[in-house]
């Protein structure tokens, strides 16, 4: 008799192992100082994505043919000591399988595009190492069966995204923006980690089965109290807001466009920006426990959608305009999740991710596309401001315009209201410490403030 269980297990492991294999090969080669050639990297990328995608699609086919809505593949306990275990478990269900297939399809497309787009680029190998890290993170997050596994993938996606924003690292602007993205992601990661620890503490387990009930997605029932749900749900909402650039964290998304076009497309237009929405979909049963929580999710989504729609109208470069268009849709998706429309939200994610990837990839040839269109119709493209212009007073339009141009002052608020007081506090502490050590030493104690960095010290010693 045919052993379906073994086949499912092999397929499931292949889905996860394919991107891991790519990451290990590219990472190890870089670590030992012998990066692979462009052609080899391209072949490895194609092969691993093709294998992973094939396994995922076969898995989907088997689940449909066997009428199975949920399959769990347990790899056992990664760490197990009394009163604590960290198990690795991957779940294949109606949420994870479409998401992982989407990840493979879009990453495969972008990989093929990037092989040419990045040809002979100085950081070709670095790009693909980060690409492999991102893909692995996406697959692990999508299939995570425990909150710790999800956190692992979540962090991988965060690191690779920030490093890709700073990809053109010989200029300061991309690097500063990369650091901004990383800082927001760390806030998001911290919120997710605290939520995961609180959940682990409340239920004694990190498995989604225990947290969200054993029913197949989206029918689980969370087994925590509504008070606990509000605390955990609020933390998860902060985590999702950071990752999906919801208000007030929206400022990082247009900044992330400093990265190469292929990474902007797949990371911020298609996959990474939807990860927050994915998290909210995964923990949907928790949101159901509290109407206040669901209301907060709806408000966060709608405010983000309105903000992004307004800000997107005044952008002067195509990638920023697309990023705000993307954010508008993400806001709507989050609002749909808050309303409990989970299948609608899932389909919305899939459709939006594909459309936006196409738009981002066409972005470098936008002017050519415009010219082709104008040549075809024999006139300039219409520039209609829309009927609402007549109903809005000029003063309000002007204020809205300035607000949109400044991107809602969100970055300024965060910088002045949150970051600056913290920096000022620690700088005051630093000054106090200097006075204290000067007093103890009986003279100026900080050598580092008197010394200039010597840039050619090696030559002096030769």
């Amino acid at each position: 008799m045919f052993d379906y269980e073994l086949l499912i297990r092999v397929l499931g492991l292949t889905v996860v192992a394919a991107p891991c294999f790519l990451l290990v090969i590219l990472g190890a080669a870089s670590l030992v100082g012998h990066p692979l050639g462009e052609r080899t990297i391209a072949r490895l990328g194609h092969t691993s994505i093709a294998v992973g995608l094939l396994a995922a699609v076969t898995m989907l086919g088997m689940m449909l043919s066997l009428d199975t809505r949920r399959l769990a593949i347990e790899l056992g306990s990664w760490v197990a000591i009394p009163h604590y275990h960290f198990s690795i478990k991957f779940e294949f269900d109606r949420l994870s399988v479409p998401f992982v297939i989407l990840s493979f399809v879009l990453c495969g497309t972008i990989g093929a595009f990037a092989n040419r787009y990045m040809h002979r680029e100085r950081g070709f190998n670095r790009f693909f190492v980060l690409y492999a890290l991102f893909l692995t993170g996406m697959v692990v997050t999508s299939l995570a069966g425990t909150i710790e596994t999800l956190f692992t993938g979540w962090e991988m996606v965060g690191l690779s995204s920030a490093m890709l924003v700073a990809f053109f690292q010989e200029r300061p602007a991309p690097v500063r923006n990369g650091l901004r993205v990383w800082s927001v992601y760390r806030i998001s990661d911290a919120a997710l980690l605290i939520a995961s620890v609180v959940l682990h503490h409340v239920t004694g387990e990190g498995d989604f089965d225990k947290l969200l009930g054993t029913g197949p997605w989206p029918e689980g029932i969370a087994e925590i109290s509504s008070h606990e749900a509000i605390l955990v749900g609020a933390l998860l909402l902060v985590a999702a807001a950071g990752k999906s650039a919801l208000v007030p964290f929206s400022g990082w998304l247009p900044r992330a466009m400093e990265g190469p076009t292929p990474s902007s497309a797949v990371f911020y237009g298609a996959l990474s920006v939807h990860l927050g929405a994915f998290l909210l979909l995964r923990v949907g049963p928790i949101l159901e426990l509290s109407p206040w929580l669901a209301g907060a999710v709806i408000v966060a989504g709608l405010v983000t959608a309105i903000f992004a729609a307004v800000a997107g109208r005044v952008q002067t470069d195509i990638k920023s305009a697309l990023s705000f268009a993307s954010l508008t849709q993400v806001g709507i998706i989050v609002a749909e999740i808050g309303c409990g429309l989970r299948y609608v939200a899932l389909v919305h994610i899939l459709g939006h991710a594909c459309l936006r990837t196409l738009q981002f990839l066409r972005a470098p040839t936008l002017l050519t596309d415009y010219r082709t269109l104008e040549n075809a119709i024999g006139d300039h493209l219409p520039q209609d401001a829309g009927p609402w212009v007549r109903w809005v007073p000029d003063a309000l339009r002007l204020r809205l315009y300035r607000l949109a141009l400044e991107r809602g002052h969100l970055d300024t608020w965060l910088a002045d209201g949150l970051v600056a007081p913290i920096i000022n506090l620690f700088e005051s502490c630093d000054a106090l410490e200097r006075r204290w050590t000067d007093f103890l030493a009986g003279r100026q104690s900080r050598e580092s403030e008197r010394m200039r960095p010597v840039s050619e010290s090696l030559e002096e010693h030769l």
Partner: protein
């Protein structure tokens, strides 16, 4: 077999001592370095053998091991146990990598004899369980950095003040403990001096300024070797943890927690790479103390795991910075340096070790940090939140420093800044250990859990059941039953 065990442990102290003697009589710097590398490598092999032998035997049998010094003194002094067994090769590895990666530019100012002497003292300290001899070794260990500071013509007042306070408080506290006798709960007169001494040695705020001062004025390699093995935490485990009341430990844990958050914030604003490293280290080492002072099996296991990962990752991180300093002098964090194109391997190692120190997934520190946070949440939810906040700020500080040092511009140099073969081996060794420990964490965590159980058992025995820690009492039988032998 006992004789073999005896030889490994004693040899691990004698070989670096002998090496120090040989190197101090070698005038040629290059030959000194070769001798030092050979001796530290031999010490690593010996400590590795001692650990391996410990692993393959039943842990209980080790308490009966007698060593030359123990036989001479008449009681057990140097005993390898679950706690110290893996720490000894880790310390030896750190010394080996430091001597191995010392370039010609640093050779004249780096004392190889002093380093070997410090290694012998440190290995003896980490093998020692007798309180008075441990205090003596800790006091002896404070001398080499002071001598180095003096030799470099720097002020030693801050260092001497703090270390004097440390040794004085240790002696005062231990004298009170002895005077009060065993088998009873010790008074605050005995506990508070000991605990304060630990806080001073571990650099918990407001006693941390000596560490920033040491990093400002001493050679980076020497400062790193003095602080990275966490001798203060070892003293806490041996001298304070077994006898201190639960509430005292937890209140002092809060001080460590405040230091973790404070130092992580300070790391963010530093303009000098050494000071940044120093605060990053202080923040992480304070987290180890938080775990130790939570006094639960989970928190303690997490703290011991973080201790191991911290020594390795911060050691690697410090060595990467040292390699950069040997090429460029003191590193500033005020402007972009753009070194990536010259030293991609060092950039990778910097990022990897930095992320490992903050517990990034896939690295050695990940599971330890998870356990630490879990253990902290078990004690107080707010403690767990503060630990996560500190880790988040440290993560931002690491990536910020990476960007400032390796990106943002293109560094122009007329000489090659690429890493040498020895440095490449060191980088690969650290990276491999961090990643292997990250992907296969179970052996390390199980070993640290056994060590935590052992420590809590000793604590329960010594306090004679005075401490009402419900979770400890609940956990111990279960862990004893299921813990691997």
């Amino acid at each position: 077999m006992n004789h073999m065990a005896l030889s490994w442990d004693d040899l691990s102290i004698l070989v670096p001592l002998l090496g120090a003697l040989v190197v101090s009589r070698t005038p040629d710097h290059d030959r000194s370095r070769k001798w030092a590398v050979a001796m530290t490598a031999l010490t690593l092999i010996i400590t590795g053998c001692a650990w391996w032998q410990f692993q393959i035997r039943d842990a209980a049998a080790h308490t009966g091991w007698t060593h030359i010094v123990s036989r001479w003194i008449g009681r057990d002094v140097f005993v390898i146990d679950q706690l110290s067994a893996p720490l000894l090769p880790l310390i030896a590895l750190l010394f080996l990598l430091t001597t191995l990666t010392t370039l010609r530019t640093k050779m004249r100012r780096f004392s190889f004899a002093g380093t070997l002497f410090s290694e012998a003292i440190l290995l003896a300290t980490f093998s020692c369980q007798d309180p008075w001899i441990l205090i003596g070794l800790l006091a002896l260990g404070t001398i080499p950095p002071a001598l180095e500071l003096r030799a470099r013509g720097r002020s030693i007042r801050i260092y001497v003040l703090h270390m004097g306070l440390f040794v004085g408080l240790l002696v005062l506290g231990q004298t009170s403990v002895v005077a009060e006798g065993s088998g009873r709960m010790h008074s605050l007169w005995a506990i508070v001096p000991l605990l304060t001494a630990i806080l001073v040695r571990s650099g918990v705020a407001p006693f941390h300024c000596w560490i920033t001062d040491l990093f400002e004025h001493a050679a980076l390699g020497s400062a790193l070797l003095y602080v990275a093995p966490l001798a203060g935490a070892y003293a806490a485990v041996r001298l304070v943890l077994p006898i201190a009341p639960d509430w005292v430990l937890r209140s002092m844990g809060l001080l460590s927690l405040a230091t973790a958050v404070y130092a992580s914030g300070m790391a963010l604003i530093q303009r000098d790479a050494r000071r940044f490293f120093c605060y990053l280290f202080l923040s992480n080492s304070a987290l180890v103390l938080v775990g130790l002072e939570v006094v639960s099996p989970l928190g303690l296991t997490g703290a011991l795991c973080v201790w191991m990962s911290l020594t390795l990752s911060m050691g690697g991180f410090g060595l990467t910075m040292r390699a950069l300093e040997s090429r460029l002098g003191r590193l500033s964090l005020t402007d972009f340096q753009g070194l990536y194109e010259h030293t991609p391997n060092l950039a990778l190692c910097f990022m990897l070790t930095g992320l490992a120190s903050v517990g990034f997934p896939g690295t050695f520190g990940f599971v330890g940090t998870e356990l630490l946070v879990d253990g902290a949440v078990e004690a107080y939810l707010s403690v767990g939140v503060a630990v996560v906040v500190a880790a988040a700020l440290n993560g931002i500080a690491v990536v910020k420093a990476y960007f400032l040092l390796f990106t943002g511009t293109r560094h122009v140099s007329s000489v090659s800044l690429r890493i040498h073969v020895r440095e490449r081996y060191a980088v690969l060794a650290v990276a491999a250990m961090i990643l292997i420990g990250g992907f296969i964490p179970q052996p390390g965590v199980a070993s640290r859990h056994r060590a935590a159980d052992e420590l809590l058992e000793v604590r329960l025995q010594l306090t004679d059941g005075y401490i009402p820690i419900a979770n400890v009492a609940d956990d111990l039988p279960a862990s004893n039953e299921s813990g691997p032998g």
